[in-house]
């Protein structure tokens, strides 16, 4: 549509409205994760083209906030992290997904380079859960802990654990993770 001359801003708002409707239907229990993830994939494919067209017109597409996400070092589980990343993207955030087995220093570098406002970390093993603390401690050491919101998740993680390691939020499920991020940023949720 955009390549054949459609207004890119209109295309962007149409898609954003559509994903919001999908999100609402998911919240109501009428749609399920595969529906939500498939809809997000459409957005992921469409937005680079739309953004390019918007920028060509001298305008800028905005996102709610920048989020760095990844599964911590020593842990290769990707499904939960991928789901949270997709849902955050669908909710209108810019998501920088570092993948799995991410070292503490790589999280730090990405947060600095991207000037991210949120860090989301996943760990699925009891042996790797403490890696989340290592990353938070690393942020404290370089003095940028307070300018970023941190959420953690994964099977062995609990609210209590999140509090102990100094995270700002915890979500037991992917949709809950999105709500927590929105709440932390004062965006409702």
């Amino acid at each position: 549509m955009v390549s054949s001359g459609a207004d890119p801003l209109l295309a962007a708002s149409t898609l954003t409205d559509a994903i919001r409707q999908v999100g609402d239907a998911f919240g109501e229990g009428d749609l399920f994760l595969p529906d939500l993830v498939c809809a997000s994939e459409v957005l992921k494919k469409a937005f680079p083209i739309i953004n390019e067209a918007i920028e060509k017109n001298g305008k800028k597409q905005t996102s709610l906030a920048k989020i760095v996400i990844g599964t911590v070092f020593g842990d290769i589980h990707s499904i939960g992290k991928g789901m949270v990343a997709t849902l955050l993207y669908a909710a209108g955030f810019k998501v920088i997904d570092l993948g799995v087995n991410v070292k503490s220093e790589d999280f730090l570098k990405a947060i600095k380079d991207e000037n991210a406002e949120v860090l989301a970390m996943s760990a699925l093993l009891t042996t790797t859960a403490m890696e989340q603390k290592k990353v938070i401690d690393g942020l404290k050491e370089v003095g940028i802990r307070d300018r970023i919101k941190i959420i953690v998740g994964g099977s062995p993680i609990t609210q209590e654990f999140a509090d102990t390691i100094g995270a700002d939020g915890y979500g037991a499920t992917a949709p809950e993770g999105v709500k927590v991020v929105k709440r932390l940023l004062g965006l409702g949720g």
Partner: protein, 478 residues
Amino acid sequence: MQKGFVRNIKPLEILSDEQIQAIHSNTLRILQTTGIRFESDKILNFFKKNDCNVDFNNHIVKFPPYIVEDCIKKCPSSFTMKARNPKNTLIIGGNTQYFSDMPGNWTIDLDTWETRPATKKENKEAVIILDALENFHIFCAYTPYFEVEGITPEMAIPESYAAKIRNSTKVSWEGSQKECEIFIIEMAKATEQDVMGVGLPSAPLTYYEDACNSLIRYIKADFPVNIACGVMMGGTSPASIAGSLVSFNAEVLGGVILAQLQHPGAKIAVEDSVLPMDMKTGHPVFGDITTALHITAFAQIYRKYEIPTFADSGWTNSKKIDFQDGYERAMAALLIAISGINVNNLYGGVYGELVYHPIQSILDDDIAGMIGRYIEGINIDYDSIASDLIALTGPIPGSFLATTHTRNYFRKERFFPKASDNITYPEWIKMGKKDCIALASERMKQIIESHIPEPLPDDQEKEIENILVKARKHYMNI
């Protein structure tokens, strides 16, 4: 030797020969054309030397069908697991069924149903109870509790195995993380018994280096390996049961091939831990009947392959020991048993792998006994068919109560549960209206007070402690 339960009924078969062939052929197709990702240069080189097609850039190994089928044939159809007391030695395979337990990260309070980490004492008692339960045969990895107060995550498996060795003469299969198999193998050798290791693929179609190293270390030590694959249908495998069977089969056969090329004749079992994904939360759904269908088909395929099998029944979606917990686990355990699986992981797990409780394991001992009795089937011979006796007794007022035949048979034909409520209504009122959980609590108390596990000889006890000290030091330094 521990005879377990010998299945004397025809196994449940839900697939036609053509359907089995369809799963097998499509598995071969995936292994030949898509391949398996192995995140280890050492393993990639090994496969290259063994005539597999290796893409070093993408870490993919593609297997010609003749290698796959040859490796399936090389797996022994059964193998022995030597226990430190010969009465608990197992022969895994064929038509024998053993029962195992399910891991729980934490324990649960039976009044508030709140969870918390178990203490070392609770973990030890849970092991002692399993040692005492007569229908329980082999400890599962990561059990009874995976997280125990005062034990670091890295030491969870070595400390857990040591607790089992010290408090039971039954054999174990143990998990792997951070190369802890090195210490597990040492402990098994020091106590002159076999231990089963794991080689865990990561679905879909991937093995990481740790999993390969663990598998190879156990095989080199001449111990069996369980290739156990946890899959979430719709997430890490197709949502269709048939598709999930193909991707699961390709994953586990990747490990079977690695094992058989490393050491032809390596002792291998395969475990089906497939669950559907809850499409609202992304969490696994436990106690779902789809899982039982998947396992029945898996059992049928692996009987054709003649490779011993494990499957999980003791993980339910109920957060309590209650009606839902009871029906989900009993249905799963019975279907697994009549499907002909060799090791049925039932005991102790309550919700998913989050919770374990010894009361549950005591109740499960009754479920196992009932199921075991069922699969042992019906003995039909001259004496049991009793037509002479029927003729002799005749119609009413004839009765079978006062016959030798009844005295000979009534005990062995029935299974007598130990914790179930089996009394009459007037007795039940008189005895204080106890339910099965109260009766299981009484049995638990009685076991803890009276069951003394066979201790390790002093030299072996010393050796186990030395290995633990070495392991603690090792993990402190990394």
